[in-house]
Amino acid sequence: MATSYLELSQVGIEFDSRHGKFRALDDINLSLDRGEFVSLIGHSGCGKSTVLNIVAGLHEATEGGVILEGKEVNRPGPDRAVVFQNHSLLPWLTVYENVELAVNRVFKGHKSKSERRDWILHNLRRVNMEHALDKLPSEISGGMKQRVGIARCLSMEPKVLLMDEPFGALDALTRAQLQDSLMAIQAELGNTVIMITHDVDEAVLLSDRIIMMSNGPAATISKILPVNLDRPRDRLALAEDREFVRLRHAVLEFLYGNKSEPVTPAATALTDDAAVDKRESITTEKNYRVTSGMRPLTAMA
């Protein structure tokens, strides 16, 4: 077998929790070709974000590892840019400055000042945000913020684009617009993308493969569903398409159908949260619980 562009081999991770070791992920094996778009889908708390964070280098796998272009990944870096669910723009920097921070980090010394400026504007134009250069994030809508977040990532020319439920917090219309934008950009640039989603339609519409994960603890990949729909894809035409409907049904069946495993999302999510809470934050709803972990310090004030 030819070596793949991005490879996760036998990845497992354990967190220290109040009740001893907690195994969140077990034996994850996945390889991606260059330019491939895959979605991770699964119930809340199954460890999708953890997989993404391991690829990003934000978490360190307890065993196994991630290999990108023949090199092992063990720390975060701009070659694996992350689009966070809640956009995570720096609220004190304007739209332009948010992208500038990333561009200066990656291209200072390689591009001249005016080239960097052009590159920032080019990336903001790509996501139709060149009209709001001097706006602060608090002055633009949620969809616009996410556009800027995507522009920031694209501007770093990452080898892999990691998206953690990028459109989860947006309304349906905005989400559809952004999905279309993302497809257009993907068609133009051929990025390698791993996206986490809860949205079945989104997964089928955007992906080349859908990775379905079992529930934790010790979550792993249960099933991989190839999506062989022609590109460019059109959401209106696909709504009636038989293959699209079949794929959509297969994912729904996986998520909600009767399975040997008891599906108790609430319970698993809780145990998972408890474990993750202790260690580090991941960009999901869990976060907000993590912030309260700072209490010992504030109590001192």
Binding site: P91, M156, S281
Partner: protein, 330 residues
Amino acid sequence: MSVTGTMTQPDQRFEQASGRLGKLLPVKTLAPSIIGLVVFLLFWATAAGRIDTSLGQFPGPAMVWEQVQELAKEHRRSREKQAAFYKRQEKRNAAKLAKDPSAEVKIRAYTGQPTFLDQVFTSLYTVAGGFGLATLIAVPVGIICGLNRGLFLALNPIIQLFKPVSPLAWLPLVTMVVSATYVSEDPFFEKSFVNSAITVALCCLWPTLVNTIVGVVSVDKDLINVSRVMALPTSTHIRKILVPAAVPMMFTGLRLSLATGWMVLIAAEMLAQNPGLGKFVWDEFQNGSSQSLSRIMVAVLAIGLIGFALDKLMLLLQRRVSWDKNAVLR
């Protein structure tokens, strides 16, 4: 409007409401403040008339106002004297030089008693020194402690131990150490200034330090992750992420620091006989004339006004540097 109204906090709503009222009718918000002040003055005047001390009657508003004018007059007189002194000296020296061009001329500084206004400026200058020194130490140390958990754990017991200590307890130690170590023929700073400033700094340190640490530690984890993904160098990380994120908490600390610093300074000046408003109060108390209490009362009001002005100044600065324009800053 009704939807957002129900979602905001009650005190925020109050703020919005009073803000709106204030814009429409400044009289409506100003009037209660004026009535409050008038009632206070009346109460003060009647109460003062009933309190007799060994130094005479407790000063009412009228007596205090008299002393305000008196102090202003004294200040002007003192400045005139000073100007006259320098003029005489200049004339004398010029005459000396005209007689003998190679003559050595001495220029002596005027050594009159400092006036009330001089004392005010001395105090302001001292509090600025102490507060500045404390800020220069507390902010960087706070950032480093916020970044490094080990260092924080090492410093935390020390912070907890010294935070509740009244800086006045330090004053004798500071005085002794300064007189032992700060020896120079021609000191750039007065020794008394160094004593007071260090004492003020010792109390300004803690609120800024603690709040900076909290500010740095409670930076949104997502923003930290953004920085990690970009692999920003530490200096950029601190400048672009940590410091802006911690600025609101830092300012909370700075304002607390300045307010306590100002209070402590007056006490330190009284105790150590260092020049400043505190010394003015103490001198008047020792003087024990029939005007002394009125003059002390002038100082009390001046201290209050200056403290208020300092806090407003910090608030203005905070508004300038704060990125969160929606935050309610008071």
